[in-house]
């Protein structure tokens, strides 16, 4: 991980000084442990603040839509797939991009760590050899890295970037035999009433802050449906029906575009597993249309195309 930091700084220095790009999008250390923040570097003197470790889960592709300048961007597997989605949706041109591919070992879920620490506050985090060392004021603890991954990273099968101009390290081995849809199947086994209750309980703590929408690289509509007032598709309060409508439509809007990067879940301040909605769509699209998001710029997204013989089990 530290090697990536060096590589990113070196590449940023090179690209900026050769005037190949106008801005480098990466991460810098956050003000608290386990929270790195996105960082846009435009001048050489800031390059040394670029940083990389297992807390870079935010999806940087979020900063690309409609940018007019030349951009170098650090991209994990999921980020690179979202870049492909942006290219397909004409949000940015490939010529504008210089992609620094970061083969990824999965990002850390800080909630898991904080839960494991049981109230103690880590001030410093060090990662090495598959473990995470957490150092606080009067304690030091080591956790297994694989047990602290984000939910989506634990079941990720595209850790290596799909498109890149330069790699920051060797490609990593992709996970095999991963059960990506165990959550979905658990819900599918329930009755309608149980399902409704399950999702009601899931979104009960929602405060409608729209952090999930804002963290999502796909949510770039100039006016989001939740902000439209004429007609008003969804109320703005935390009324249960409104909250349900919001979560349902948000999930539906990313159908066939979501790369399961987990940015939404990571951003949620109350820890709602919002991916439970989008996973069903991902599963359906794979089963019905054989499409996996963000792997190729040659294939149109599933809702932007059709085949004459598409399945239509419930059409009369």
């Amino acid at each position: 991980m530290r090697a990536y930091t060096e590589k990113i700084r070196e590449a940023a220095k090179r690209l900026l000084s050769e005037d190949r790009v106008d801005v480098v999008i990466g991460f810098r250390k956050g003000t608290v442990a386990l929270m790195n923040e996105p960082f846009l570097v435009k001048s050489l003197d800031q390059v040394d603040r670029l940083y990389w470790d297992g807390n870079c889960g935010i999806n940087l592709a979020n900063y690309l839509p409609k940018r007019p300048d030349r951009v170098a961007i650090v991209a994990k597997g999921c980020d690179s797939r979202n870049i492909v989605v942006h290219l397909l949706e004409n949000q940015i041109k490939r010529e504008q991009l210089y992609i620094l591919g970061a083969p990824c070992h999965g990002m850390i879920d800080r909630r898991r760590i904080l839960a494991a620490l049981d109230g103690k506050e880590p001030l410093q985090v060090e990662e090495a050899n598959g473990t995470i060392k957490l150092i606080g004021r009067d304690f030091e603890e080591t956790l297994e890295r694989s047990s602290c991954l984000q939910d989506n990273c634990a079941i990720c099968i595209h850790r290596n970037p799909v498109v890149y101009d330069e790699l920051l390290g060797d490609l990593v081995a992709e996970q095999e035999n991963v059960d990506r849809y165990s959550d979905v199947r658990r819900v599918e086994a329930m009755s309608s009433e149980q399902r409704w209750q399950y999702f009601d309980d899931l979104i009960a703590p929602c405060i409608r802050c729209y952090a999930c929408r804002n963290a999502c690289p796909l949510c770039y509509c100039p006016t989001c449906f939740v902000d439209e007032s004429r007609p008003q598709w969804v109320g703005k309060s935390i009324d249960r029906t409104d909250t349900r409508t919001f979560h349902f439509l948000r999930a539906y809007h990313v159908a066939g575009r979501c790369t399961d990067c987990g940015a939404c879940e990571r951003a949620c301040p109350v820890g709602i597993k919002v991916r439970r909605f989008t996973k069903k769509l991902e599963k359906d699209i794979k089963e019905l249309y054989g499409y996996e998001v963000g792997l190729s710029t040659d294939e149109r997204p599933p809702l932007d195309t059709y085949r004459p013989g598409d399945p239509e089990p419930f059409f009369k």
């Binding site: 409704w196 009324d239 029906t241 409508t245 699209i285 004459p308 419930f314």
Partner: protein, 143 residues
Amino acid sequence: MTDWEPKIVAFLCNWCSYGGADLAGVSRMQYPANIRVIRVPCSGRVNPKFILAAFRHGADGVWVSGCHPGDCHYIEGNLYARRKFTLLNNLLEHTGIEPGRLHFSWISSAEATKFAETAKQVVDAVKKAGPAQHFIKKQAEVA
């Protein structure tokens, strides 16, 4: 609530299903009167938001009908719609809407009989599902 009658919103495409409904009317075919028709240019025009809006306003069922695949006035609108609604229907049922509330069909403007029959089927299915419980926007619950 034995005298309960469902309210059903039907989005019918201008070129086929609306014509089918018209023909059913001029042919004096009988079908249940629970359907409120909204004429749309194409089944591809129907946004999933419309369907949720119908449920939020208290519709017990929604029915979307368009031209047969291959017969779309806009060549391919209904083929996009087919994918869109397949995913929508699956996600709605996945999140707890009972099967039988949401219906889709292909009805051409010559198929008045099919229109009347489908209308009966849709009404029967929604009656079986009972009054809508979910997604209805009520007055805010203020503590």
